[in-house]
Amino acid sequence: MTTLTVRQLYKYFPTTKSHALRGINLQVEGGQHLAIVGPSGCGKSTLMKIIAGLLPADSGQVNYNKQNMNNIAAHHRGAVMVFQDHLLFPFLSVAENISFGLRMQKVGTAERKRQVSQILQLVQLAGFEQRRPHELSGGQQQRVALARALVVAPRLLLLDEPLANLDAHLRRQMANLIVDIQQQLQLTTITVTHNQEEAFSMGNRVALMFTGTIEQIGDGQSLTSAPVSARAAQFFGNWNHIEGVKRGTAIETAVARFLLPPHSRYREIADGKVQLFLRPEALRIGTQKRGNNRVQVTLMRCFHGGSRWHSQLQADNLLWEMISDHQPPHQSLWVEVAPEALIVFSL
């Protein structure tokens, strides 16, 4: 199993005059699956290409098991990339595509055949050996691309938006297949995606990336419940947010006064202008009127989302969302916010 360590990675593209990476530090333990999530153009794919050796970094280091890989060519690294467009070689059959890497390694014909048939079983495509890529569906093509990567027993598996071109149903199937295989083979894997659901469902850990830097890294729970910055909060989920002024342990806003709980780390934030974030699930239909952490709202729209009620509320000039177990009883109502659910960042 290969442990990947990335230290202080920088990359600047002079043609677009953009800093793609600004000092990336990262560690993926052997057999772990890291999902990197972030908006388009944040440098995720550049990072993957540098790890695979397909692009040189301006500075910094990529280590596989403490071995510096900076001067090792891509074809000697054993880091295989799978792209969202599958990129199967159109002039080769499924079997020939899968055995491409083995052929490059000069593996004998009989052994190649054996391994191809084994890997086709694994990706549930036995019997498709002689098909051409254009005769396969999108999901099948992606499975062939995965098989082609897996058959060479890579040290690192790098998946660049592997599910982006698939429909919702296939996406779930493929995500499960990738996770199953990754765990079965104990492969050190990095998946890059802009879809947070995919990231949370596939990775043991998730890294959030913005404009060439890793903003936050952790498990799905920590990323969604304790974002480290306003933009991290805004990226994960539909947070309700409002600006206010912090004075001691209280935050004054246009709609209410919010009190921070006794052990909240946000009490340490310096007094002044702040941004307050509230998850839609943290809002509850209030039993009392007025008081701290209570907001008077008008119900704009309400629907049952399958398991819970989703309400769109208007407070002052703000539109908030609430997810609750019960349908709001009136058009005009008070909602309360649990103090522990308050997330605060200084402006």
């Binding site: 060519a73 074809h75 690294r77 002039f91 890497g101």
Partner: protein
């Protein structure tokens, strides 16, 4: 294909057959054919027998034409492929400079180019031979080769090469096993085009070869000038064959073996 296009294609094919090929075939077997006779009045196989007559030089001219056209095609590929690859790396804002350099030979009259080349090569004492002819043909055809290849390379998805490299293919294996395979149809089309340009060159062949090296166009024109239309027609038909064979192979290759190769290009 719609019915209209099918009719048009058949009409063009029939037109070519009736106006070009059939009269040519008739000429090759005619002994006497004077106006206003619709068909030859006397027939003879003399022109076809001349193929095997060494003094008529048809065989030599065929071999010379083939050799020169093949050499020109290979040299074009050897120069064109790396040049196009390099041109792709030029900043888009500066592309007009490279475009101008590539297209410049097409803006000057061929005679001026050939005379300039003749003067340059004669100072190096390499005129009146096959090498001089090949150089002239390469100069005439290289811009076309580069234009066609560049159009294809612009849309080429380089991630195929990245996938291959990450699967363990060395740069040479990537170029040979992936890039060339993906570009094969484009290379075939551009090669055919260049082959045909060289195959039909008359003026540059005559000037640069000094008339010492006989090719099919030279032979055809000399028989035409001498009024020997049966022999001229035989040479014309022979000259017509290799391009026809290449076109058929090309059509088969592109239609039967594309395997969705166009997906490698963002067309």
């Amino acid at each position: 294909m719609s019915r209209f296009y099918r009719i048009v294609i058949w009409a063009i094919t029939l037109h070519i057959l009736l106006l070009l090929v059939i009269p040519l075939i008739l000429w090759t077997i005619s002994f006497r054919w004077h106006f206003p006779a619709l068909l030859p009045t006397h027939y003879s196989l003399r022109a076809w027998q001349a193929i095997f007559d060494p003094t008529k030089q048809i065989g030599v001219a065929l071999l010379n034409s083939l050799g020169i056209a093949c050499a020109v095609t290979v040299i074009n590929l050897l120069i064109g492929l790396p040049v196009v690859r390099m041109l792709q790396r030029i900043k888009i804002a500066h592309r007009w400079v490279s475009d101008l350099i590539v297209l410049f030979p097409l803006l000057i009259t061929p005679l001026a180019i050939v005379l300039g080349l003749y003067s340059a090569l004669s100072s190096l004492n390499i005129v009146n031979n096959a090498l001089a002819i090949i150089v002239a043909h390469v100069v005439a055809s290289l811009p076309y080769m580069i234009i066609i290849l560049r159009a294809i390379f612009t849309n080429f998805d380089r991630r195929y090469e990245e996938v291959a490299a990450s699967l363990g293919a060395s740069p040479f294996q990537v170029a040979y096993q992936v890039t060339l395979s993906l570009l094969a149809p484009a290379i075939l089309v551009s090669s055919l085009f260049v082959f045909l340009i060289s195959w039909s060159q008359y003026l540059s062949t005559l000037l640069m070869g000094g008339g010492r090296l006989i090719t099919l166009p030279l032979l055809m024109i000399s028989y035409a000038a001498a009024g020997d239309y049966p022999l001229m027609s035989v040479v014309t038909l022979i000259q017509f064959m290799p391009p026809l064979i290449l076109l058929v192979i090309n059509a088969f290759y592109l239609s039967g073996r594309s395997y969705g190769i166009e997906r490698a290009f963002a067309l």
